[in-house]
């Protein structure tokens, strides 16, 4: 496993950084928030990103994608995370398209993936519920088969981009009790289907999310993604991969917050000297640097492992390690960033607060560090 980027990958990263700088500076993130933009991002910018191949980065060329690997995805996500860019990479690509790639039938793939790769179709994965916390197998939403169709009833929370996605991938219980890993089935629904109600949620971070209520929504047998009752394993596979992708976004965010802080240490003066000359701050900054470097290693190793065909157990292990480390590191960096900025760091006017909120949201999303450590221990039998 060579943990170094190729020249093409470095170039991809530079292109991404330039696009973010030109089209989505932090000023734009602030405007979207202040305007309470109902969508939360721009479909035009998303199409532009699709033209660069990002929306279809993991989608095979046969389905109109770029057919690249996870390391390429990582490079792009890091830049998006650096800029806190809200375009629907996580929802549409990492969760939605990934579910179709890993579990979809040929027909389902060719129906959806080309439009995803073109930036025209948005997806969302509705799996989290009020009482599921981090357990993706805790599913209370029910799907019942009656007179030739499935009827879905339940409520999903914090569905990323659920308010605008054209198609929702929904987990529902088709047998068993709420915490069973078995008996879960994934369904594809159109957001505008009768009985689907979505309400935009406002979180601390700038990622858009929605409550999705399903009130007797009817779909046919062809809407099942994968096998009936076997969606639990598929869901876990999708989330492990999405978790790994999220860590690349987190890496970008923590790096940006860290660099912002080091700049401030060099320029802000007190007692007649730059505050970065105080050893109490130097050592803390040096520790943050070590933490971010270790995080970078974990993120690279996890993406590389997926490219090298990690099996489900390896993918789960890598996801746990990378997510635990990035959760802790991003929070540490963000907390320290605010502290080292002093009073200005507490103001809404300063950008550092955006990173603190993004860090918290990313930390909790897909399971925090303690959850992932416990998960790794269980995976390894202790």
């Amino acid at each position: 496993m060579a943990l170094v980027l190729t020249e093409e990958q470095e170039l991809l990263g530079r292109t991404a950084r330039e696009l973010v700088a030109a089209r989505s500076p932090l000023k734009r993130i602030r405007q979207l928030r202040d305007a309470r933009d109902p969508i939360g991002f721009s479909r035009d910018l998303w199409r532009e990103m699709a033209r660069l191949g990002w929306a279809g980065i993991l989608i095979p060329e046969a389905h109109g994608g770029a057919g690249l690997g996870y390391t390429e995805l990582m490079v792009v996500l890091e830049e998006l995370g650096r800029g806190l860019v809200p375009e629907p990479m996580l929802s549409t690509v990492l969760l939605g398209a990934s579910a179709l790639l890993l579990g979809g039938s040929d027909a389902q793939r060719s129906d959806h993936l080309p439009a995803v790769a073109a930036g025209d179709l948005l997806l969302a994965l509705a799996y989290q519920e009020q009482r599921s916390r981090y357990d993706v197998h805790h599913v209370e939403t029910r799907a019942e088969w009656a007179s030739g169709s499935w009827r879905l009833t339940g409520e999903k929370i914090q569905v990323l981009d659920g308010h605008v996605a054209d198609v929702l991938v929904v987990s529902a219980r088709t047998s068993g009790s709420p915490a069973n890993a078995e008996g879960i089935t994934l369904f594809l629904l159109r957001r505008d289907a009768p009985g689907v109600r979505v309400a935009r949620q406002w979180r601390i971070d700038t990622r858009a999310a929605a409550l999705v209520a399903l009130d007797g929504v009817r779909v046919g047998a062809e809407a099942v993604l994968g096998e009936v009752d076997a969606g639990g394993a598929l869901l876990a596979r999708v989330l492990d991969r999405a978790t790994i992708g999220l860590t690349a976004d987190m890496l970008g965010g923590m790096t940006a917050a860290f660099e912002m802080t080091v700049d401030y240490l060099r320029t802000r003066r007190q007692f007649g000297v730059p505050i970065g000359s105080f050893q109490a701050l130097k050592h803390r900054a040096a520790r943050l640097y070590v933490e971010t470097e270790l995080a970078r290693s974990a993120v690279m190793a996890a993406h590389r492992a997926l490219d090298e065909g990690a099996d489900d157990m390896q993918a789960a292990r890598m996801a746990a390690i990378a997510k635990a480390r990035c959760s802790d590191a991003y929070m540490l960096v963000a907390h320290e960033a605010v502290q080292m900025h002093g009073g200005i760091g507490m103001t809404d006017e300063h950008d550092v607060g955006f990173y603190l909120k993004a860090a918290r949201a990313a930390e909790i999303m897909f399971g925090d560090a303690a959850y992932h450590r416990d998960r790794l221990a269980r995976l390894q039998g202790y």
């Binding site: 130097k282 050592h283 900054a285 040096a286 070590v290 270790l294 995080a295 746990a320 635990a324 303690a370």
Partner: protein, 394 residues
Amino acid sequence: MDDLDAFREETRRWLVANAPPSMRKPLAAGEDYCWGGRKGRWPADVARWLAAMAERGWTAPTWPREYGGGGLSEEEGKVLAQEMAKLGVRPPLVGFGLTMIGPLLLHVGSEQQKRRHLPPIAHGEIRWCQGYSEPGAGSDLAGLQTRAVRDGDVFVVTGQKVWTSFADKADWMFLLVRTDPDAPKHAGITFLLMDMASPGVTVRPIKLISGASPFCETFITDVRVPVENVVGHVNEGWGIAKMLLRFERNMIADAFKERDDAARLLALARRYLPADDGRVGQPIVRDQITQLEMDQACFDWTLARSRARVKAGHPPGPETSIFKYYGTELNQRRRDLAVRIAGPQALGWEGEGFADDEVKLTRDWLRSRGNSIEGGTSEVQLNIIAKRVLGLPD
């Protein structure tokens, strides 16, 4: 099958045929690796293993053959290490010759110094110690006071070194001396090689909190060192001293990579904190074990990344400071956790009621406290990162 696979095959066969069975077991309590040197006495199987490996140059696999090495490429060296690890064979020889002064001489030594000093290191004949620290010069190493005055073809050296690991067992010392007392402190330093058998050298062992006596005070009185034993140029020893420190930090970091520590800690936890469901009894301890395992994995990947960067032609960055800082911290956390898992059984110093491995665990914890001091303290490493990597002002 490509060349490397063939090499792997051949290497494995040779190791299986030649490693004595006793050299394929982990160290038992009280046992140590072979450090070589004139003063060392090693059991017959240890000596045999050293001789067999030294004959192939595999004590220093990637050094050129003319200097006693094995002449292997980086890749072949890695394959050898991997095969040794797989078979669980012990390194035939360890020490500061192989990890510090040897690599340094390969880079900056004169041809004559390489020919003279490297083969005895690779053969395990000469053991080296490091004379850097002095009573008044620790973190502020450049403040050293040991004097060397030129007298014809020799330098006459006088001063005191301290914390000199294994000075009592070593045959030679590499040391820093002040050759120009009037120059600014970094400018008047010279890097010397000194035979410990020279008249005027005396050593006094110092006992550590762990009970062992691995290091000494070294008193140097009017010792005559030939001018040819200067490495690099007179008064230009500081740059060389720092280069050696990078080798040292690499070595210290390397010592803390890729072990099966999670498994070892887990075995300890199962022994001292059993639970009915097969999990570790205390969730907090379980969490700490997992945390260590994860941090170790991240550390290993960071080492791998830095190697990959160097191989891809990027200059090595100041990452040795990260490795020294973080690797030692990891080791300390691990030793500390092992003691907490063992609980009351970790309080033994020796004798009745305490197993050998319990005493070792405790002494290893005590010894590990030195990891963040030796080779430049953690605070010094953080200073280096802040200055050299982050560019923070003085």
